[in-house]
């Protein structure tokens, strides 16, 4: 067993949710991975949920395939390990389990109480959050981790063995949101193996066309997956997500209780869409068209400006500028529809 090992990671292109940041940290700019990403990550969806930390209503927005990407991306192999398995394999020593997994080339991802990581004193509340672990140093007694919590932005940083152990031990099955929806009464960790040497997935023009239609026509993309899941029927899809997020931001401006996560995922969606269009041009599926790229860059800029405006309002409390948010969104939506219709026409032509 080594004294130190750090598995390769890259700073992720998108950071809005931990599952995306983790997947993109592991696979980065891998050419095979790009073919899968640019064939997917097209449809945007949102629905209301109860926020797991506060119990408040939250508009949850994500790019499909959402958190399933950590189980279903063809360039990783994910093993779901229950706590009982981990206890059995390593005599209840989760640190030993994590170190052995990293030694074998496996990344570890799971829900830990990050309040126990952030703070030494006993707290009467938990902050269950996914932690991505990709390395260790036995001498310094630290793990290399990817997370949002410790640096106020997504960062690859370190936490101590003791903090990880404390954060792991106090999680109950009901806190483990990675397991509880599908496997009641069970908690555990994901072990993720990189599996990108063999090309398993070609750039899927047919899927890109179908999903762009579904995005522009606000169709229910999850309907294709009813075989596996059919619980939620209150989801908004595609271009309509602009309206849902606008409505949510207007409520936030009224209440003074701000949450930029939905606008941030929209920004990540536009960043990926811009890169997708560029990639399709590089691969010859679209003809080179700088004007089209520049027009979509304005969509990206507008959505970023809208997210930053929400941050500005949350700092200054000056709600008189709120109409600018709608202006940015309206312009972004109009331009995005124009660009994507052009892209679709060319792909179908």
């Amino acid at each position: 067993m080594a004294d130190k090992k750090v598995l390769p990671v890259e700073y992720p292109k998108i950071t809005s949710w931990q599952w995306h940041a983790t997947l993109f940290s592991i696979l980065g700019d891998d050419e095979n991975f790009k073919k899968w990403v640019y064939s997917n990550y097209i449809q945007l969806r949102c629905y209301h949920i109860t926020e797991i930390f506060t119990g408040d209503d939250m508009l949850f927005a994500d790019i499909m395939p959402g958190s399933s990407s950590l189980k279903e991306c063809p360039y990783i192999i994910t093993s779901l390990m229950t706590k009982n398995q981990i206890d059995s394999y390593c005599n209840g020593d989760v640190l030993d389990f994590i170190i052995k997994t990293i030694d074998m080339g496996g990344y570890v991802y799971g829900v830990f109480d990050e309040a126990k990581i952030l703070c030494d004193v006993e707290l009467d509340y938990k902050f269950p959050h996914e932690l991505f672990i990709y390395g260790y140093d036995k001498e310094k007694k630290i793990f290399n981790v990817g997370d949002f919590t410790f640096n106020e932005k997504y960062a690859h940083t370190t936490v101590t063995f003791e903090e990880v152990e404390r954060g792991y031990n106090v999680i109950a099955p009901k806190d483990d949101h990675m397991f509880k929806d599908d496997y009641k009464g069970v908690r555990g960790l994901y072990v993720i193996w990189k599996n990108n040497e063999t090309p398993y997935y070609e750039l899927d023009k047919k899927l890109v066309i179908r999903t762009l239609h579904e995005y522009l026509e606000c169709q229910d993309t999850k309907d294709h997956f009813r075989m596996m899941r059919n619980r939620f029927d209150d989801t908004v899809f595609g271009i309509d997500v602009y309206d849902s997020v606008l409505e949510q931001v207007e409520k936030q401006v009224e209440s003074g209780d701000f949450d930029i996560r939905a606008t941030h995922i929209m920004y990540d969606h536009k960043v990926l869409m811009y890169d997708r269009i560029k990639y399709l041009m590089e691969k010859g599926l679209l003809k080179q068209n700088q004007e089209l790229l520049d027009k979509y860059a304005q969509v990206v800029d507008n959505v970023l400006a809208s997210r930053n405006l929400v941050i500005r309002i949350s700092i200054t409390g000056d709600t008189s500028v709120k109409n600018r948010f709608k202006g940015y969104f309206d312009e972004a939506k109009t331009k995005e529809i124009e660009v994507l219709n052009t892209v679709l026409a060319e792909l179908e032509g």
């Binding site: 106020e152 970023l304 400006a305 930053n308 941050i311 500005r312 700092i315 940015y328």
Partner: protein
Amino acid sequence: MQKEEIKSKLIEVIDENLPNIDTQTVDVSADFVDEYDVNSIQLIQLIVAAEEKFEVDFDDKELALSKYNSFEDVINTIDGKVNK
């Protein structure tokens, strides 16, 4: 306003708004993301405070972290607004 004065006033703003940065030793030309872990929210906090201090306005599109590599870039933007 001279650029040196803008720099020293901006360092005051950094001191008041970004407590994790030691303004005694701060290098305004350093990459502020790599060197000082500046994130989007901190940059916007800084700009909002600078708007008040220098009586200038930043467009919402000038709030993007990607527009700046260093505090020096922020100083140059303020310089362009104050001395236009």
